[in-house]
C-alpha cells in the first residue's frame, strides 16, 4: 500500500517475467547504474529500493524481483498482492516470453483490477537484428490493456530510467485519485494471504 504523508510515498513495484529476460539486469541498471559488472556493491538484486523526488514529492520505490521459472508461476499472487505497480519484462528475441507477459497481464488485471499500474518492457533492444516480437504488435497490445510499452536495453542503458520515471508518475497520479476515494469509504483494506487455487490448476491442466 502506498503510505503517503510526512514520510513520503511508498510504492511497491514487482518485476514479472520469464527467467533470463533480464529483469535483474534492468533493476541493477536502474538502481546501481551497472551492467554485468564485478563492482556491483549489493550482495543481491532481488530486493532494491530507490528514492526519487518527483515535483517536490518524495517517493520511495521498493522493487521486488520475482522468480521467473515456470514452476514458481503459481506463487505469483503472493508476490504481487498489494503492489502499486508491475513491470512486465519480455525478451524481444523470444516470442514465448511475450506470451508469458500476456498471461501475467491477464492474471494481474483479474487479481488486482485497475488499481495496479502496468508497464511492459521489451528488453534487449541491443539485439534488434534478432527481434522476434514485432514492435508495433507489442505496443498495440500494451495500449489495449492500459499499460505503457517501453523499449529497453539494460546493456546499453536505454529506456530504463524513462520507464521507471513514467511508472512512478502514473502511480503518484493513481495514488492521489485513490486517496480522494478512500476518504469516502475508509477501512476497506484487509490484508491476508490469499492463495487462490484455481490459477495453478489452470496452469497444470494447460501443461499436462
Amino acid at each position: 500500500m502506498a503510505a503517503g504523508g510526512a514520510r513520503g510515498h511508498q510504492f511497491k513495484v514487482v518485476l514479472l517475467g520469464e527467467g533470463c529476460v533480464g529483469k535483474t539486469s534492468l533493476v541493477l541498471r536502474y538502481c546501481e547504474d551497472k551492467f554485468n559488472d564485478k563492482h556491483i556493491s549489493t550482495l543481491q538484486a532481488s530486493f532494491l529500493t530507490k528514492k526519487l523526488n518527483i515535483a517536490g514529492k518524495r517517493v520511495n520505490l521498493a522493487i521486488w524481483d520475482t522468480a521467473g521459472q515456470e514452476r514458481f508461476h503459481a506463487l505469483g499472487p503472493i508476490y504481487y498482492r498489494d503492489s502499486n505497480g508491475a513491470i512486465l519484462v519480455y525478451d524481444i528475441t523470444d516470442e514465448d516470453s511475450f506470451q508469458k507477459v500476456k498471461n501475467w497481464v491477464k492474471e494481474l488485471r483479474k487479481m488486482l483490477g485497475s488499481e495496479v499500474t502496468l508497464c511492459i518492457a521489451g528488453n534487449k533492444i541491443d539485439l534488434e537484428k534478432q527481434r522476434n516480437v514485432p514492435a508495433d504488435e507489442a505496443e498495440a497490445y500494451a495500449t489495449s490493456v492500459g499499460a505503457k510499452h517501453f523499449h529497453t536495453s539494460a546493456k546499453l542503458n536505454k529506456g530504463v530510467e524513462e520507464m521507471f520515471l513514467d511508472l512512478t508518475k502514473r502511480m503518484l497520479e493513481k495514488d492521489s485519485n485513490s486517496k480522494a476515494d478512500a476518504t469516502a469509504k475508509p477501512g476497506s483494506t484487509r490484508r491476508n494471504i490469499q492463495i487462490t487455487e484455481d490459477e495453478p490448476q489452470e496452469q497444470k491442466s494447460g501443461c499436462c
Partner: protein
C-alpha cells in the same frame, strides 16, 4: 426336556447327581446357590454371616486392645479407641491446614516480591508511569518484564510526560481488552490489533505535543508499541487453540519431512554443496530460520529471517559470483526451509501475517523476505513431480521411500557416495597441498631476497672502495688560525679550504663574520672621524686653572 436335549446335542453332559443339592438333602440344587438347594443355601449363608460378624467383633476387640496398649503412656488416652482415632485425625487435619497455609503464604510472598520488583524495575518512572497499572498486573514472565521496561524506556523520547503516560495506559488497556477477548475469531483479533496500530500511529501524528517527534522517532515508538503488545500477548495470539494452526503445523512438518530426499539440483539452486564455506553458511542459515520460532514479537522473528536470508545471499555469492536475483534466491530459500524443517512454521507465518504492523510487511526488506518464505511454504505444500522435473512414477517412489534419488556426479570426486569425513579429509589434503606450495614459494622468495641483500651489500662495499680510490683522503697538518687579518688578506679562502678548520666550524664562522664586518662595510670608512674632546669654556678653564 427340550432344553436338556439341546444341551446334550451341544455336547454338554450333566450328570444327574450334580444337579442335586450338595448337602445331599435330596432336593435339586442350583448353580446360583453354589450348588445347594434353596433351604440349605439359606442356612449356609446365614451361618457364614454369623461367623463373619463374630470374627469382625473379635477383630474390633483386638484392635481396641492394641490402641489401648499404644496410648497407655499418654495421659487421657485411656478414653478408648474412639478418642485415639479422633486425636490422630485432628492431628492430620492440623498438619494439612498448616501445609496449605504455608503454601498460600509462599505464593503470596512470591506475588509481593514480584510486584515490588516491577516497581523497582523502573526506578525513575515508578511515580509517573507504573502505579496505575502495576497493582492490577499479574506476575509477568521475565521476557514480558523486559519488554515492559524497554517500552517505558522507549517512551522517554516523548517530551510530554502526560502524553507518554497516556500512550502507556492505552497500550496497557488494549492488552487487557485482548486478554478478555480471546474467544473471538482470530481474524477479528488480528483486526483489533491492526486497528490499534493505526490509532496509535494517528495519535502520534496528530497529537499536539507529539509535534516535536521526527518521522523516525514516530516509527521507533510504533515499533515499541508493536513489540510490547505482541510480546505480552504472545501466548494468547500464537497458535491459538481456536484455530487449526497446530494441525496444520504438524501436517506441514510431516510434509517437509517426507520431502527430505529433494536435492538442490532438483530445485536448480546451483548451490555448490561440496564447498566447505557453502556448508558453513547453509548451517548458519538453517540455525537462523529455526531461531524464528524462539522469538516472541514479529519484529524479532523477522530479523531472524533477514539474517537467514543474508546467509543465503552470501552462499549464493560464493556459488555464483554475481548478485543473486530472485531466480536463484527463492529456490535456495526453499532448499534451506526443506533442510531446516523449522518447527511451528505455519503458526509463525500466520502469527506474523496477523499481528505484525502491516506497513512492515508491505514495504521493507523484511517484508520481501517474509513474502518469499510464504512462497516457499506454498511451494512445498503443493510440490509435485512436475515442479521438480521428475516423472510422476519417480516422484511417487521417492515419496514412499522406495527409492533414493541418485547423488549427482561430483565433478572432482570420482565416486558419488563419499561420506562427510572423507570429503573433509580431501578438502584438508587439498588445503595442505596449497599450504605446502605457498611455503615453498615463500622459501624461494626468502632465498632470493637473501641473495639480493648480499649483492646489494657487496655493491655498496665496492662503490665505497671505488670512491675511496678516486678521492684519497689526505690529512694535512693543522695550521694556526688567523682571525683578524688585513682586509686584503686571503683569510676567507684559507678558512674554508684548509682541513684544519673542519674541526672548528663555529670558530670559522665567527672568523668569517668578523672579517666581513670589518672589511666589507664600506659605510664604516665614510663615517666622520670620531669626536675629540674640546674645551667648552676657556673662562672656566682659566678659572679652574687660577
Amino acid at each position: 426336556m427340550s432344553a436338556m436335549k439341546r444341551g446334550t446335542r451341544k455336547g454338554l453332559h450333566v450328570d444327574q447327581s450334580e444337579l442335586l443339592c450338595k448337602n445331599g438333602c435330596g432336593y435339586y440344587g442350583n448353580p446360583s446357590w453354589q450348588g445347594y438347594c434353596s433351604k440349605c443355601y439359606r442356612d449356609i449363608v446365614q451361618k457364614s454371616r454369623q461367623r463373619q460378624i463374630e470374627s469382625d467383633h473379635e477383630y474390633a476387640k483386638r484392635l481396641q486392645q492394641q490402641y489401648a496398649a499404644e496410648n497407655r503412656g499418654s495421659p487421657g488416652a485411656s478414653g478408648g479407641s474412639g478418642s485415639g482415632r479422633e486425636l490422630s485425625f485432628s492431628k492430620f487435619e492440623e498438619k494439612k491446614t498448616h501445609h496449605t497455609g504455608s503454601k498460600t503464604r509462599t505464593v503470596k510472598k512470591l506475588f509481593k516480591s514480584k510486584s515490588s520488583s516491577t516497581v523497582k524495575g523502573s526506578p525513575s518512572q515508578d511515580g509517573k508511569l507504573t502505579p496505575q497499572a502495576s497493582p492490577k498486573e499479574p506476575v509477568l514472565s521475565p521476557e514480558s518484564q523486559k519488554t515492559v521496561n524497554e517500552f517505558i524506556e522507549g517512551l522517554r523520547i516523548v517530551r510530554s510526560r502526560a502524553f507518554a503516560q497516556e500512550l502507556y495506559k492505552s497500550a496497557q488497556h488494549f492488552i487487557h481488552r485482548m486478554q478478555n477477548s480471546a474467544y473471538l475469531p482470530i481474524e477479528e483479533q488480528s483486526e483489533m490489533v491492526h486497528d490499534f496500530y493505526n490509532s496509535m500511529s494517528e495519535r502520534l501524528q496528530k497529537h499536539p505535543t507529539a509535534g516535536g517527534l521526527t518521522g523516525e522517532q514516530q516509527a521507533q515508538l510504533l515499533d515499541g508499541v508493536e513489540k510490547h503488545i505482541t510480546t505480552r500477548l504472545h501466548q494468547l495470539l500464537f497458535c491459538p487453540s481456536i484455530t487449526d494452526d497446530e494441525q496444520r503445523d504438524l501436517k506441514l512438518q510431516d510434509r517437509i519431512r517426507s520431502l527430505s530426499w529433494v536435492t538442490p539440483q532438483m530445485l536448480d539452486t546451483g548451490i555448490k554443496e561440496d564447498d566447505t564455506q557453502v556448508q558453513g553458511l547453509t548451517d548458519q542459515a538453517i540455525a537462523a530460520i529455526i531461531e524464528v520460532g524462539s522469538q516472541r514479537s514479529p519484529q524479532e522473528k523477522l530479523s531472524c529471517l533477514v539474517r537467514c536470508c543474508q546467509h543465503i545471499f552470501e552462499l549464493l555469492r560464493v556459488s555464483h559470483d554475481a548478485p543473486a536475483s530472485a531466480d536463484e534466491f527463492l529456490p535456495a530459500l526453499i532448499y534451506i526451509t526443506l533442510r531446516a524443517n523449522p518447527p511451528l512454521l505455519h503458526s509463525n507465518v500466520q502469527y506474523i501475517t496477523r499481528f505484525a504492523n502491516p506497513s512492515r510487511l508491505m514495504a521493507g526488506e523484511a517484508g520481501y523476505y517474509f513474502t518469499n518464505l510464504c512462497c516457499a511454504v506454498a511451494f512445498l505444500e503443493s510440490l509435485d513431480a512436475q515442479a521438480l522435473s521428475l516423472s510422476q512414477e519417480e516422484f511417487d517412489r521417492y515419496m514412499s521411500g522406495e527409492a533414493v534419488p541418485p547423488k549427482p556426479q561430483q565433478n572432482d570426486q570420482a565416486d558419488g557416495y563419499t561420506c562427510e569425513g572423507l570429503i573433509l579429509m580431501q578438502e584438508n589434503i587439498k588445503g595442505l597441498k596449497e599450504l605446502n606450495a605457498k611455503h615453498d614459494k615463500l622459501m624461494d622468495d626468502a632465498k632470493q631476497l637473501q641473495d639480493e641483500m648480499k649483492g646489494f651489500r657487496d655493491g655498496v662495499i665496492k662503490q665505497i672502495q671505488d670512491v675511496l680510490k678516486r678521492t684519497p683522503l689526505d690529512i694535512k697538518p693543522r695550521q694556526p688560525l688567523q682571525l683578524a687579518g688585513t682586509p686584503d688578506s686571503p683569510i676567507q679562502q684559507d678558512l674554508l679550504l684548509s682541513p684544519s678548520t673542519v674541526g672548528y666550524p663555529l670558530a670559522a664562522a665567527a672568523g668569517v663574520q668578523a672579517v666581513t664586518l670589518d672589511t666589507e662595510n664600506e659605510d664604516n670608512l665614510n663615517l666622520p672621524p670620531p669626536l675629540l674632546p674640546q674645551v667648552v669654556s676657556s673662562q672656566a678653564a682659566e678659572g679652574s686653572a687660577s
